[in-house]
Symmetry: C4
Subunit: 236 residues, 4 copies
């Protein structure tokens, strides 16, 4: 049986994180969705599909099991649910996923290019390039589009041996960004950073078309200043 207190707290967090997307300018109309997983409780909570942010309430959030099967009568879940489920299955240590069509991340996703690490703003959050998936095949799109989208993300990370905790986001070719994190709020912050570094990277190349990524030692310094056991940024 579902733990109502736990579920209600998840709904509140997921609801707040969804609202944070248009507030941060990452989402127009109904584009974008946030989910959270509780692996022990066996539930995922996600935004309902196509509901305007202005009328959305915490109680509208949809509860599913770990395979994405809806557990409560009510609204339909986000159509991107199956992508979230795949990410949760493959990336065991993440607790929240965000999808947006934020402008600058989409521009890179549409260009089919990974985002190089051109500076410390990038390195503070993403430990190396933000990968871009390969294009989905006709068969993948026809069979189970959203599930296959999740699989192609996982493939991009495993092929390039990228740790999803060190690079908490990705561009889906021709589509847009997904990010993740320990909490819905953290996953939203990663979406904010991803869009910002996408914009910065584009203009960096315009200002200097021969620019190279920052050296590995600077990438290391900034990432590990904020992450891991030797982090010294922020309060303890």
């Amino acid at each position: 049986m579902l733990n109502k207190v736990l579920i209600d707290e998840m709904k509140e967090r997921v609801f707040s994180a969804n609202l944070a997307l248009p507030e941060a300018g990452l989402v127009k109309l109904t584009w974008g969705n946030v989910s959270e997983i509780d692996r022990e409780a066996g539930v995922i909570v996600i935004k309902p599909s196509g509901v305007p942010y202005s009328t959305m309430e915490a109680c509208h959030m949809v509860v599913t099991d770990l395979d994405g099967e809806v557990l409560e009568a009510g609204l339909k879940p986000s159509s991107d649910l199956a992508t979230h489920v795949q990410l949760y299955k493959a990336f065991k240590e993440i607790n929240a996923v965000v999808h947006t069509h934020s402008k600058h991340a989409v521009m890179w996703a549409q260009s089919g290019r990974e985002i190089p690490a051109y500076g410390t703003t990038h390195a503070d959050t993403f430990y190396g390039v933000v990968p871009c998936t390969r294009q989905l095949t006709s068969e993948e799109v026809a069979s189970a589009y959203e599930l296959e989208t999740g699989k192609v993300i996982v493939e991009a990370f495993s092929e390039k041996s990228i740790d999803p905790l060190a690079v908490p986001g990705v561009l889906v070719y021709g589509h847009g960004p997904f990010t993740w994190g320990e909490t819905p709020q953290k996953a939203v912050e990663n979406s904010i950073v991803l869009d910002e570094i996408a914009e910065m990277a584009c203009v960096t190349e315009i200002v200097n078309d021969r620019i190279q990524p920052i050296p590995q030692y600077l990438l290391d310094k900034h990432f590990f200043r904020k992450h891991g056991t030797n982090a010294y940024y922020g309060q303890t």
Copy 2:
């Protein structure tokens, strides 16, 4: 005789949709106009010409017949009325038209290029390229400029066999965008999307100058995920 209740409801919807344009950042000063048609009642309701948004009221909306002849004493209709009328005559299933000078759509209109479908944000609303009309001739501009603007839009759709319900917007060469939809609100949303994908497409080409449009199967998938009998996006 005019049905006052029906007309007043149309005026409210058209008024709200006009206000939504500056709120969405699509319109500066008095640029932009929205209209709605009721073919059975034989009326079009449209924004008055050159009235500031800050002092505009629902009762200022102008009522015309299906040929654009004003039916009530009051303010002059938008100078673009004749374009709206042409679109209503040619596109029998649309109920609302929006014209703006929104920045990014104008940039493409001024460049004389159609907008390629570079991603799923595009495909979710526009099923293929957003066409750009040919340039109006000197004779067309001199004779009946706004009416000819409507005709050249219709020509662009018929020449390329584009369905105006599948591609609910257009760029007029050297001028700017028109969009349409089932309701004024939907037509405004299509203007929001059009400006967003115009901006995304421009930078997509900057980030990767050899990028190609997304494949037809992905265009199909995203458009029909949201439109038609097999749509599964949103609530039912």
Copy 3:
């Protein structure tokens, strides 16, 4: 003797127009100034120099004669006053001048290029290219910089036989835009339009690097739809 009622009304209009600049996003910090002239009364009212918008009041506006000599004890006038005076002397039918460092107009001014008329948004307000002055010489800068800035603007219009009423704005090479109009409000609107078309023109060239200005007949159509005895835009 000064007509206090008339002066106070001018101060109110000039004050409001100055406030409208940061509200429209055209001005940061204390950059920008608006003035109004009353030729019959023999006075110019202009923003004081370097006063923050947040603490500025209508009574702070500075009153000068037609040569820019201050007529009331109080704050110092904008350091650009001498430029305004030159424009009023040369362009007899204008009643207000605006100077800003609005982003996109400055970009063009810094590039040293006139803005081509790439579309009807441009043509609705500016009947042809927005000229860019030549660079001031070392001697001109050393002798009477602000006055010479006014002269080089006037030179740009007379050399190219441009009517300042038909093209109510200019770019000063390496500096930024000045606009003017019948009223302070109208001059501010022209600054808003100038910045918008500057941005549009830049990206138009990026989207299509071989784009040409719109033909003369379309320029004529749009400008005279809004200006002159045959104008039919707006209410009468």
Copy 4:
């Protein structure tokens, strides 16, 4: 013993200046920090590390001595403190330092290029190019990263014989901008100007790819119109 009244006033100023950064759109999340020095009192006051702006209070500001040693129990100082300390040691006449990851300044920092003086908006605040430091070496990053960041800034100014009072800001290669000034408020204003001229410079080069910096005499005129004994901008 610390002068509590003086310290509290410094905390208020530093707190206000920190809040001004997100208000000006220069800072997202917790990126950015402001400090103030009182050399006579022997104290530096700086933002705490990684504290969200929404919950930050004046009393959270951290007090250190002139070597950056914390003098009061409480929160940890900004991780960039050592950079601020180096700047205060080398630039004897500055009283406040600001660091941000503001978008356009970062784009130039990531491109590794100094910002040329393309116009008077630049010249009003920065008397010549805004320099970009060399890249830090692996050894510098490994040993004392933030301290070495300060040193490389000082090196950039001394190598090119740039006066830090005439050019109150810098780009750190691959990282972002630092600015300074007589007061925290002035240092923040310099950050606002730096981001604005960075954006303007980028597009100036796009509009005209052969553009040259403004001549020295115009740079002189604008800078000394606002600074030094012959300044005549603003009220006295």
